[in-house]
C-alpha cells in the first residue's frame, strides 16, 4: 500500500508547488529577459524603477532593524517579566497578522494624516508622515511587527532562565548575560524572524499603497511600481521590477541561511 501511493503522492505535492510557485515565478523571470539583457537593463535603469528599488531597500533598512530591536524587547518583556496587561500586549502584537494591511494603512492616516490626531502637531513642526517616507516606514513596520516576536518569544520561553541565572552567579552583568547567553540561544529564531520581517517589508503592498500616495519617483516602492507599470501597460517594467523584488528577497534568505549554518553547528545537536 505504502509504496504504491508514495510516487503519486510525491508527484501531487511537486505539481502543487510547481503550479503555484515555480511556474508563475519562472514565467516572470522568463518574461523579464525575453527581449534580452539589454532591454531588461534599460527597464531597470529607468529613473522611476531605480528610485522604487532604492526606496524599497531604504524602507527595509529602517523598518527591519526597528522591528528587530522592538521584537526582541517585547519578547524579553513577555518571557521574563510579569506585569499587568501582559496578555494584552501579547494579543496586540498579533493584530497586524489578523487585520488586513489596507485597514492598518487607513488607521495610520487617521492618526498621522493632516486631519489626524497627531497630524496638526507634526505638521506644525514641519514633519509630514503620510504621503512621504516616514509613513511608508511606519506602515511597513506596523504590518511586519509580529514576526520577530512570534519567532523569538517561544524560544525564550523554552530555554527558561536558568542559563541566564547561572551566568549571573558567574559574574555576568545584564548586558553580558544578554550578549553572551540570551542572543546565542535565540539566534536561530531571531534569524528566521528577521528573514520573515524583511520579506514582508519588501513585499508589502496594501498598507503602503494607502499611506504613500504612490507618487512615481517619490513615494513609489517596488510593489507599487510593479502595480503602476501593469496599469500603464508597460509589462517589461513590471517584470523587471518583480525580478528585482525576488532577487532582493532571495539575497536576504541566502545570507540568513549561510550565517546561521556556519556559526552554529551545535544547534543540530541540541534542537533535535
Amino acid at each position: 500500500m505504502r509504496t504504491r501511493w508514495r510516487l503519486p503522492l510525491r508527484l501531487a505535492v511537486l505539481a502543487y508547488v510547481g503550479l503555484l510557485v515555480v511556474l508563475p515565478v519562472s514565467t516572470v523571470f522568463y518574461r523579464a529577459f525575453q527581449h534580452g539583457l539589454g532591454a531588461a537593463w534599460d527597464a531597470l535603469s529607468a529613473p522611476d524603477a531605480l528610485h522604487a528599488l532604492w526606496l524599497t531597500l531604504l524602507v527595509a533598512a529602517v523598518a527591519v532593524p526597528l522591528n528587530t530591536v522592538f521584537g526582541v524587547g517585547v519578547s524579553l518583556l513577555l518571557a521574563r517579566h510579569r506585569f499587568p496587561g501582559a496578555w494584552l500586549l501579547d494579543a496586540l502584537v498579533d493584530i497586524p497578522l489578523a487585520v488586513s494591511p489596507v485597514v492598518i494603512g487607513l488607521a495610520l492616516i487617521l492618526v498621522y494624516g493632516k486631519t489626524g490626531w497627531f497630524g496638526n502637531w507634526l505638521a506644525a513642526r514641519g514633519i509630514t508622515v503620510i504621503f512621504s517616507l516616514p509613513g511608508i516606514v511606519l506602515a511597513s513596520a506596523a504590518v511586519s511587527l509580529p514576526y520577530v516576536v512570534r519567532e523569538v518569544l517561544p524560544v525564550l520561553q523554552e530555554i527558561g532562565t536558568e542559563q541566564e541565572q547561572a551566568a549571573r552567579t558567574l559574574g555576568a552583568g545584564p548586558l553580558a548575560v544578554f550578549r553572551r547567553i540570551t542572543v546565542p540561544n535565540i539566534r536561530r529564531g531571531l534569524a528566521y524572524g528577521v528573514t520573515l520581517t524583511t520579506a514582508r517589508v519588501l513585499g508589502e503592498f496594501g498598507a503602503v499603497a494607502i499611506v504613500s500616495g504612490a507618487i512615481a519617483g517619490k513615494t513609489q516602492t517596488l510593489t507599487l511600481f510593479i502595480s503602476a507599470s501593469i496599469d500603464d501597460l508597460d509589462p517589461q517594467s513590471a517584470y523587471v521590477g518583480a525580478v528585482a523584488l525576488c532577487l532582493s528577497a532571495l539575497i536576504v534568505l541566502t545570507v540568513m541561511t549561510v550565517t546561521d549554518r556556519s556559526r552554529h553547528a551545535w544547534h543540530r545537536e541540541t534542537m533535535l
Binding site: E162, Q165, A167, R168, T169, E269, T270
Partner: protein
C-alpha cells in the same frame, strides 16, 4: 568561609516559602538543607546566592553583609538542579565563562580550565558541547564552572536529583572526596535523607518554611527535636504512645513469661526484604506497630502471622531534653 542566615522570611504571593529562618553554616563544612519538596530549602539556597531577594532578614558570608548585593558580585558558586549548561558553548568555554567575564589573561584561563577539567575528570571532553555529555558529566562540568571563579561558598541545588541511582551513588562519594580536597564551604539541597546523611557532615532540616533542627547526622537521627525530624530522617513507629525506631524494638515469643514493660500483640504480617525483615504487629491494647529485625533474628523466632508476641524496646538511646539540642 562561614555563611550566616539571619531571620530570613520570604513569601511568594500568599504562600510562605521561608518563615524567620536563622542558620549558621560553619566555614569548611558540607551542610545539607534537607526536607520535603516545597519546604523552602531551594528558596533559601537561591536567597544565599542572590537569585531571589528575601522579604526580611540578612545574609552574611564571611562576616560581610551581602543581603542587597547582586548575585554577580557575591562570589558564590551555584549549581542548578538541571545544571543549566550553556548549550552554545563547549565544555571548555562553559568552564572558562566566569574567568572570561573577569577578563583574565588567555593563558591563565587556559591553564585554570585545564586544572579544573582534570579535577572533575573531563579533560578528554573539553571540546564537546553539553548536549553530547551524559547527565553525570554535565553535573561535573557545572561544578567545574562554578569552581572556576574560586567561590567563597559552593551552593548545590538537588545536585543528584536528575541522575539514575548508580551514577548518583558514585557522584555522592566523588563530591565527598572533592570537598575533602578543596575544603570549600558547601551547602547542598536535597529531599533524600539517605543522601544527606551520606554526603553531609551537618544537616539542617527545613519543613514548611521553618528550620526544624540543625546538627550532625547521628545527632539528628538519635536525638530528633520533634516528630517531624524523627519521621523524616528514618523509619519510625509508635509504641505505647511514643515514637520509636523500629530497629530499637525486639520481639519475644515469651516461653518464660513476657519481659517487664513489654506490650502484648499479634503478628499481622511478616515481610522479607533481603537482610531486613519487617514484622507488623497488632497490639492487644489497640493500635499497630512494626518491628525491623535482622534475617537471623527473625529465623530464630520462627515468626508467622497470627502468633502472639510481646514487643519491647531495647538499648533505648537517652533522649536529651529539647532545649539542649543544637538549634542555632
Amino acid at each position: 568561609m562561614s555563611i550566616h542566615v539571619e531571620g530570613i522570611s520570604k513569601r511568594f504571593g500568599d504562600a510562605i516559602a521561608l518563615d524567620d529562618v536563622t542558620l549558621e553554616v560553619p566555614s569548611g563544612s558540607l551542610t545539607a538543607l534537607l526536607g520535603p519538596s516545597g519546604g523552602g530549602k531551594s528558596t533559601l539556597l537561591r536567597i544565599i546566592a542572590g537569585l531571589d531577594a528575601p522579604d526580611r532578614g540578612s545574609i552574611r558570608i564571611e562576616g560581610e553583609d551581602l543581603t542587597v548585593t547582586p548575585a554577580r558580585h557575591r562570589g558564590v558558586g551555584f549549581c542548578f538542579q538541571h545544571y543549566a549548561p550553556f548549550r552554545h558553548l563547549t565544555v571548555r568555554r562553559n568552564v572558562a565563562f566566569g574567568l572570561e567575564i573577569r577578563r583574565r589573561p588567555k593563558t591563565e584561563i587556559a591553564r585554570r580550565v585545564d586544572e579544573l577539567l582534570e579535577l572533575v575528570g573531563l579533560s578528554h571532553l573539553g571540546d564537546r558541547y553539553p548536549a553530547q555529555l551524559s547527565g553525570g558529566q554535565r553535573q561535573r562540568m557545572a561544578l567545574a564552572r562554578a569552581l572556576a571563579i574560586e567561590p567563597k561558598v559552593l551552593l548545590l541545588d538537588e545536585p543528584f536529583g536528575a541522575l539514575d541511582a548508580q551514577v548518583r551513588h558514585q557522584l555522592r562519594l566523588w563530591l565527598r572526596q572533592l570537598h575533602g580536597t578543596l575544603q570549600v564551604t558547601t551547602v547542598l539541597v536535597t529531599h533524600d535523607q539517605e543522601e544527606a546523611m551520606e554526603v553531609a557532615d551537618r544537616l539542617a532540616v527545613v519543613n514548611q518554611g521553618r528550620l526544624e533542627q540543625v546538627g550532625s547526622p547521628a545527632d539528628l537521627y538519635d536525638h530528633p527535636a520533634n516528630e517531624f525530624v524523627l519521621t523524616f530522617l528514618g523509619p519510625a513507629t509508635r509504641l505505647g504512645g511514643a515514637w520509636v525506631r523500629p530497629h530499637d524494638l525486639v520481639l519475644h515469643r515469651a516461653p518464660g513469661g513476657p519481659p517487664p514493660g513489654a506490650l502484648e500483640g499479634t503478628v499481622a504480617r511478616v515481610t522479607h526484604l533481603g537482610f531486613e525483615v519487617k514484622v507488623d504487629v497488632d497490639l492487644a491494647a489497640g493500635g499497630t506497630c512494626w518491628v525491623q529485625l535482622s534475617r537471623g533474628t527473625a529465623a530464630e523466632l520462627d515468626l508467622r502471622a497470627g502468633q502472639r508476641v510481646w514487643v519491647a524496646r531495647v538499648a533505648p538511646v537517652p533522649r536529651r531534653p529539647r532545649q539542649e539540642l543544637s538549634r542555632i
